[in-house]
Amino acid sequence: MAIEVPAKVFRYRPGAAPRHETYRVTVPDDATVIDAIEAVWRQVNTLMFRHACHHASCGACAVRVNGYEKLPCIVPVKEALAGRAEIVVEPLRNFPLIGDLVVDVAGFFQKQAASGMVITREAEATLDGRPYQRSETFDDEGKLGERPYTRFENCIECGICLSACPTMAAADKFFGPAGLAAIYRATRPADGAQNKSLLLALADGEQGVWRCHSAFECTEACPQSVDPAGAIMALRRELIARKLKRLFGARER
């Protein structure tokens, strides 16, 4: 069954004033907002927007839906339209704009790269609460061997937390919730001591954890349970503990 969706979409090109345009598209009733955006694109093929996986694992499609940061690929159109005359689709805040819904993520990825976070991590010891046995796995020569299980990190680098963050709004250079959460992840393995000190120094620096003002919007808006606010506070705890230890003469580790 199809439904008609009025979609008010932010349109912009460099050199022209930004504006909102309303389009009417028809989509299946179980469609998601990204389907509606694609339907708009079929009407006006000049619409610039990012998307790839359609199941919230690539982080490309992040936008604001009705003023709030979302991954439109997992927001049902019915939910977005509930009690409203139209769906409003706008780009993320706090990023430079390239065109329409596409933002410039260069600065963001620079911070992510600087954070040292590898995009995969060791998998948990339970699956949805159930413990499991481990077995040997094949390596790149097809030989079996004992090695940890891995999975992709929770963070999909979608930029939603940066859009939601009030500090990010006022300060471009702030490392940002995603970056600080990434530093937290990157400093969890017990090994890698030298790099860990450097990364913690980055977190402790001028643009690090101390610029956060506890709005917690990053954690609220994150679609992937990264809990950047929790990571920032955990980093603060660790940094304070280290400072106290140093105060009482312990060796830097």
């Binding site: 790839a52 995969t120 046995q133 891995t150």
Partner: protein, 385 residues
């Protein structure tokens, strides 16, 4: 003397890997993509780094391609893969009877494998159907298609390639019997421009036929759509496959904290307009449940569909069509300066790129050898930096 200029149309896995190979061999490369990197077929794929097990009985050419590329990709992008192997599980007597052919197929295609008793399989994967009769472990893996493409393109950019996204090819430039470049509309500026090239590579996946027609040639590529249903929990560490002939909904791939069930197959006319049939979605959940009963109680997180570029041989059934790839030098159709690379799967993107780059270099008289096997990829983040 400047190096020849090659235009690659399409920034999915085929275009990305091709740009990387071309740039590595010293050619000047421009990639043209009308949207974001991997925004369609590659972006919405099953994320499965194939061991080749799926094809080792009926499509051994594909199977060998898969296992070779699988082991290679582990060296080229080691930090961007979930490498916990896969299991082919038998749930019925029919599945069990298939095991002998399967194991023989793995042997023939040099796919490493290990047979696992049913009880052990359940210890390894607690959410597996408790009626499992037997399991075979193979080196399946999980990638993330968007970052996969970004890594190849980032490496290509490092070696001098230019990647223009939101730049749509609207026509091919012809001069006599040759393609000499493209006409593009840059959506960022709204401007139309032309871009000359010594060779144009059509790496547009399901649109290969449409782009080929701009050059006055035909390619036998049939857009064949498939649905993926992602549920909101990571229920297995391994890829779980049904031990039988390939069919719909017989693979569940874990990724992060989700599980992706796929896929189906139906021919479509327009890859830009895919209506997702509701019964396909229901079928995925139903088939997924057979492998992992807990799927029944797990909320659906996302549903996506995109069209594979299948190379049609006349009269073949969809599931029987080979998943291998093919390069077309359109010189055979009387058009110079234009090649198409189509078919294949993301797992074999590097091999596809090697083949088409060999073809391009031969046409241009460039003696450079392929070095993509030994060249690790840079971080995907560098694409945007």
């Amino acid at each position: 003397m400047t190096a020849p200029h090659v235009i690659v149309i399409g920034a999915g896995s085929t275009g990305a890997a091709t740009a990387h190979d071309l740039a590595l061999r010293g050619l000047r490369v421009t990639v043209l993509e009308r949207g974001e990197v991997a925004n369609c077929t590659t972006g919405r794929n099953h994320c499965l780094l194939h061991s080749g097990g799926r094809y080792c009985v009926k499509d051994q050419e594909s199977a060998v391609e898969c296992i070779d590329e699988n082991l290679l990709l582990r060296r080229l992008m080691p930090e961007a893969l979930e490498l916990n192997d896969g299991l082919f599980v038998a749930l019925t007597e029919d599945d069990l009877a298939f095991k002998e052919q399967f194991v023989e197929g793995c042997e023939r295609c040099h796919i490493p494998y290990r047979e696992i008793p049913a009880q052990r399989a359940l210890e390894l994967e607690p959410f597996l159907n408790p009626n499992v009769l037997a399991a075979v472990q193979v080196p399946d893996g999980v990638f993330e298609p968007f970052r996969f493409c970004l890594a190849f393109l980032a490496t290509a950019k490092k070696n001098g390639a230019v990647v223009r996204t939101y730049t749509e090819v609207t026509d091919l430039l012809r001069s006599g019997q040759s393609v000499t470049g493209v006409t593009i509309r840059d959506h960022r500026t709204g401007q139309t421009e032309t871009l000359g090239a010594d060779i144009v590579v059509n790496a547009t996946g399901p649109w290969a036929g449409e782009i080929a027609r701009l050059g006055g040639v035909e390619v036998p590529v049939s857009p064949t759509a498939g649905v993926m249903v992602t549920v909101g929990k990571r229920l297995t560490n391994r890829v779980i496959n049904r031990l039988n002939k390939p069919s719909d909904g017989d693979i569940v791939v874990p990724q992060r904290m989700t599980s992706i069930i796929g896929t189906t197959s139906w021919t479509i006319l327009d890859p830009d307009q895919i209506e997702i049939p509701k019964d396909h979605v229901e079928k995925m959940i139903q088939k997924g449940r057979e492998l992992i009963p807990a799927i029944q109680h797990t909320a659906v997180r996302g549903v996506g569909a995109a069209a594979r570029p299948l190379i049609r041989k006349a009269g073949a059934d969809e599931r029987e069509v080979s998943r291998t790839f093919e390069c077309f030098d359109h010189k055979r159709d009387g058009v110079e300066g234009f090649v198409t690379i189509s078919g294949g799967k993301t797992t074999t993107a590097r091999a596809m790129a090697e083949k088409v780059t060999d073809m391009v270099c031969a046409k241009l008289g460039v003696p450079a050898e392929c070095r993509t096997r030994e060249t690790p990829l840079v971080s995907y983040r560098l694409f945007y930096m």
